[in-house]
Amino acid sequence: MEKSLTQRMDWLHTWFGLVLGWLAFALFLTGTIAVFWFEIQHWAQPELHGAKMLSPEATVQYSVDYLQKVAPDSRRWTVTLPDLERHPLLVLSWLDENNAQQFARLVPDGSGRKVTTVTNGGRFFVDFHWTFNREIQDLSGRMFQWTYMLSGFVGLAFLICMITGLVVHKKIFRNFFTFRRQAKSVQTRWLDAHNVLGVISWPFQFMIVFTGLAFYCYLYIPTGMQMAGHYPSQRPAAAVGGGGPLMLWGRYGIDAVGRVARNVVAPGNPAPNVPIVSLFAQAQAEMGVLSSFTVNNPGRDNATVRFGGTFARPDAITFTANSMTFDGATGRVISPAGNTVNAVQKVTNVFGGLHFGFFGGTAMRVLYFLCGAAGTIMIACGLVMFTAKRRAKAKSAGARRFYAFVDRMNVASVGGAMFACASYLWAIRLLPQSLSDPTGGFSGGVYASIRAVPLDLAQRSDLELYTFWLAWGVAALHAMVRAPHKAWAEQLAAVAALCIGLPVIGYLVPNCDLGSMIAAGDWKMVAVDLSGLSIGLALACASWKVSGKRVDVRVGKAVAPVLSPAE
């Protein structure tokens, strides 16, 4: 029998949606959380909480004074300025007498207090979102990694599901506002929820998945880049005094500790330098908010000072960091500000800028978060619907077994991913700071990648990741052995308890309790705690609804629990 277009698309939507939906849920969940990764990074470092920050100019002066004291004869200083709005951490690094990299992480309040907590923080969610947490070589390293290929494939499948979803929906406008929460068939309720969430947020979902895929298309289809390597174009003039390799999208461009720097310029003769603060003011007037500066040969007649803007620009949809270089001895501008980017970079700016959502401030990120959450819930509804639709119609024992398996996988993927994320946040808060690796944290390469090390050698950042995966494993096991409708309720309740507990466990750790943070006006930190609390309450409500005490049991008619197989 010839199948219609809709039927074919329905098949594609169903099976791509189901199999890749299990992974897509985790990617959407972590991507949604990653919208606030700077804030979570701040939340994860108790030393920074509630500190009274210096002004940008005072921070620059403080950094210069500090470096003058610890490394007056260094060939290079690099300062990563705090993001006062989102993650106010000051990172100073310098080359020691052997030209090896050293650094200090400081609270930017002028007290000289060090930040000793080394944590994956919010960055973990970013990395998980596109690599499932496995180490990736830098772009020139060209190490093939199936993890980012997999996430790319999931993204592509999601894009296909979005388009096939429109085809199979058919009544998009007629059912645009339709959510029949009291529909007789359970399937209709889940279908409506899935449809409404998907259709209304469709433009956003398309934008976010497409830009994510397009931004990294050179990873997913690497041949072009590999071939381009055979035909080198004229290289742009090397920026004077670049620090370590800048992470592609990080704010922190700190090289590995102890690595001997290359491209170090021989020192000139001692000479008075123009105060860096005045150059900073000049650069800031030209480029807006600055995120870093590098001084080569400070205090010499061949000193250069390079100021860098940030990839995470709040005022434009872009992904190119601006920079400007001065002659440190005379204050003359060596290379002026202004991005000279080619057409490809301009397009990449749009993709990267839209996908990473650094622009527009907190209000914009709230929108990103809400739309991402809508997508996440939409995937979960679709997964649940798969069995809600088919279970009752299962004709054979084999089909019933398969639907029971799908039910369990749904719990393991949806409940498990949420449980793992919540447990990870608990690990951040409760693991002792003393486990931190003092030299770790800002090494080159991808930061939050999981390492296989013996437990006694594991550091705090390793243990955080182990907690994540262990929690997911436990949740998956639980989903496999427990009846699905019970497993749903229990896992949702467990995640709810963990989320509601986030502000509570803050009281066990110095400088993390909600009360004093509100008093100190550290709203970044408070917002993370309160978001956890409200998400927890919502999940508690969801758990109660699926626990069998459902609101909508028809009088005189036994209804099987929504999420269980027809046993």
Binding site: G360, A363, L367, C371
Partner: protein, 109 residues
Amino acid sequence: MYLLSTFLCAYAGFAALCAITARNVPLVWAKPPSRGVVTGLRTAGYLLLALSWIPCYLQWDVPMGTAAWVMNLAASGLALVFPFAYAPKRSVQAGGVAALLAGLVLLVR
């Protein structure tokens, strides 16, 4: 505050369109609305959705504002659909209030 205005304006637009969607008419109206009312609400609905771009533009200019507008449409739409399933009449009536508030917020911000 601009974002609040955008949100309310788009909510009002969606509410107007929601009220005249065939499936929802019996949930919202005691007797079916006349053709004039339907046309009026439809025009008002699309107009309000379009107008909700303006506060975004004022806050963020064209590129960022348009991105915000698209995301806000999703947020307002979902903020209407789920309450509508519980209290159809009130959710739609809230649209009228939202339209007034959207203008007010823009004026006093």
